[in-house]
């Protein structure tokens, strides 16, 4: 019991992803100010603008806007909408109050949810052996910094992490507002992108970014009970549906970079066979071909 390898659809997808190069292997970073993802540095801290704050690798607030980072790629499964919703649930944001940015590569975004998939135990197996196997898998994921989307692991990975990221941001904004106003944190609340002081004054989060950057993130947070949720578990419009319906959304093929050229691949039509020679003269005679 417990040692039987399970070749599920999910492990199969993981295998495909690895072969297709859809996996980013990061390196193990130094333990620094990244409480929600211990043992890694916060990649947002590198290019942070003036008077801006990055409470953790998922929430960035500047004097102009709130940006939520989606670490899992969205190719239609909807996770690009669900990730910010989990943050917004705890951070008390409305769905039109933030921008979404997909994460660059960083060990901070290692996939904790994948431990259940790569450890060769049935999901229902609660034995000590299974738990130890999963713990070992998690440690391997952490050390390798495996940042990947797939295997239905995005929600298991982010379900607590992103809510915590939102709660950390919320509590730190409240602490900054308390410092500014002299009110007690316990008397301050948040709603729809604003901190609300006991006297009813509403301060937008973006107006607190500079002050919030000066204090260490409040990491001692408690996640809300599901009975309090406004967003999670409710039907919602995909956040990218309008851009997809108007054609504005930018896919990889739509992106243009300075000096970019296009390449076309010609393969040997026989599987696995090498190239002996090729004649590019016809292609090279076409206008624009370099």
């Amino acid at each position: 019991m417990g040692t039987m390898p399970v070749l599920s659809r999910r492990t199969f997808i993981f295998g495909s992803a690895a072969v297709a190069g859809g996996v980013v292997f990061g390196s193990y970073g130094q333990a620094q100010d990244n409480p929600a993802s211990p043992g890694t540095t916060n990649p947002l801290a590198v290019d942070l603008g003036p008077d801006s704050v990055a409470f953790n690798p998922w929430v960035e607030i500047s004097p102009e806007k709130i940006t939520l980072i989606a670490q899992h790629a969205d190719i239609g499964q909807g996770i690009g909408s669900i990730q910010p919703v989990m943050i917004a649930e705890e951070l008390d944001l409305e769905l039109d109050q933030f921008e979404i940015r997909f994460a660059g590569p960083s060990p901070a975004y290692f996939n904790t949810g994948f431990a259940h998939e790569i450890a060769p135990f049935m999901a229902a197996d609660q034995s000590l052996e299974a738990e130890k196997g999963r713990a070992a898998a998690l440690e391997w994921l952490r050390q390798s910094g495996l940042q990947m989307t797939g295997g239905s692991s995005a929600i298991p990975d982010t379900y607590e992490k992103l809510r915590a990221a939102g709660a950390v941001a919320r509590e730190t904004l409240k602490a900054a507002a308390a410092r500014r106003s002299g009110a007690a944190v316990a008397d301050i609340r948040t709603e729809a992108g604003h901190v609300i002081l006991p006297n009813g004054t509403r301060i937008p989060y973006i107006a607190l970014s500079a002050e919030a950057a000066k204090i260490p993130p409040v990491t001692d947070v408690k996640l809300r009970d599901p009975s309090q949720w406004r967003l999670i578990g409710k039907s919602m419009e995909r956040l990218d549906i309008r851009a997809k319906v108007t054609g504005e959304i930018v896919f990889g093929i739509d992106r243009k970079m300075d000096g970019m050229v296009y390449a076309a691949v010609k393969l040997n039509p026989n599987k696995g066979q090498p190239i002996r020679s090729y004649d590019a003269s016809k292609a090279q005679s076409m206008p624009g071909v370099q």
Binding site: Q77, K244, T246, F251
Partner: protein
């Protein structure tokens, strides 16, 4: 030099006559809503309107569409959302969205000739537009909904 009218704006493009309309739109004019999927009219992702008719823009050559009126998804609603786009949002049709501009252009064309399409009409007209996410059921529902919207106006 060829003349081309895209979404009501006239452009001049300096390309070879055989250049597919898809590349004229995407690379010369920067209109990226029509997508490259297969390049051989098997997928429908590149569908645009040429003089009001849905056409696979990967197959249409510049020399053959010169002077004609091209409409992409940006131009179907005259500054507003077209009823088909509205229905696409209401029914949350798109997943990855790559094929969907082509799907909507084809659906708009369908509704012109079949204002009250049956499921069979939809199957016939939309079968050349592939969706790897498998959104076909929602496409069908959204087309019926769009027909209602257009009919109600």
């Amino acid at each position: 030099m060829f003349d081309i009218v895209v979404n009501g704006s006239r452009h001049q493009v300096d390309v070879v006559p055989e250049m597919p309309l898809l590349w004229v739109l995407r690379d010369e004019l920067g209109i990226t809503s029509p997508k490259y999927g297969c390049g051989i009219a098997l997928c429908g992702a590149c569908t645009v309107q040429v003089d009001g008719e849905a056409v696979r823009s990967c197959q249409a050559r510049m020399a053959d569409v010169a002077g004609k009126a091209i409409t992409t998804i940006e131009g179907v609603g005259n500054g507003k959302l077209h009823p088909v786009q509205e229905a696409w949002i209401e029914h949350q049709v798109a997943q990855c969205g790559y094929c969907q501009t082509g799907q909507m252009i084809q659906a708009i064309s369908l509704l012109k000739t079949h204002p009250k399409p049956t499921d069979e009409d939809i199957n016939e007209v939309m079968s050349g537009n592939l969706c790897r996410c498998g959104t076909y059921e929602r496409i069908r529902v959204a087309i019926h909904a769009a027909a209602e919207k257009i009919g109600g106006k």
